[in-house]
Amino acid sequence: MGMRWRVGGRSRRAVRNGDRRPRPGCRPPARKPAAARYLLRVPSTEEVKERIERALPGARATVTDLTGGGDHLRAEVVYGGFAGLSRIEQHRLVYDVFDGEIGGAIHALSLKTSIEAPEGET
């Protein structure tokens, strides 16, 4: 089997905006058998909130279901422990709570992280 995908599905050259040549690398996603999907238990927004707050003591999480389907969630997390961390590191802390579940049962977890305002400044 030869190489089935390339950068941009094209030549080595970067994808340029407006370049509309066909892309040999673009294929529809493989579908999971239906039965496999039912085996993935999707945690509720309430459960996601509790797990974040349990893992990050003192954090306040607001979790919403973006699509109503239960697998595209958004969490807004306020946590003092984010202080001094880059956004990447802040988001990693939250993703780590759901190790292996994101991309699985939770198709997507959109995040907004912020550092708790110091006492008396809210």
């Binding site: 089935r4 941009g8 905006n17 892309r23 493989a30 956004r87 988001h91 997507a108």
Partner: protein, 127 residues
Amino acid sequence: MTDEQIRDEIQRAISEERVMLFMKGTPDMPRCGFSARVSQILNATGVDYAAMDILPDPRIRQQLSGLSGWPTIPQLFVKGELVGGCDIITEMFESGELAQTLGVEQPGRAETPAPQAPAQAPPLQIE
């Protein structure tokens, strides 16, 4: 292709392409609302970037997440460093920080794409 070859190809793309986007689908035909939004944002900044579709082989995503330690797609790398996924890129775009990171000028309001929330984007793919 072996897993090692896939990993090497990803590694090479990250280190050789100044702005490298891993996404579901392609910039012309994104297959997920989050990937669509990030490529729209990059288009709005006018930066040259390379993109790799992770969908053709599930091992691309496995190897990529293994390398980056980041579970979700899309993932944007600039000069070999992971900058973020959709949420971070959107925030950085709105604050002007992204243009700075990319070394381009912040586009004016008129050129800003005002991307829709992924929830309203065309139905998302179930893998």
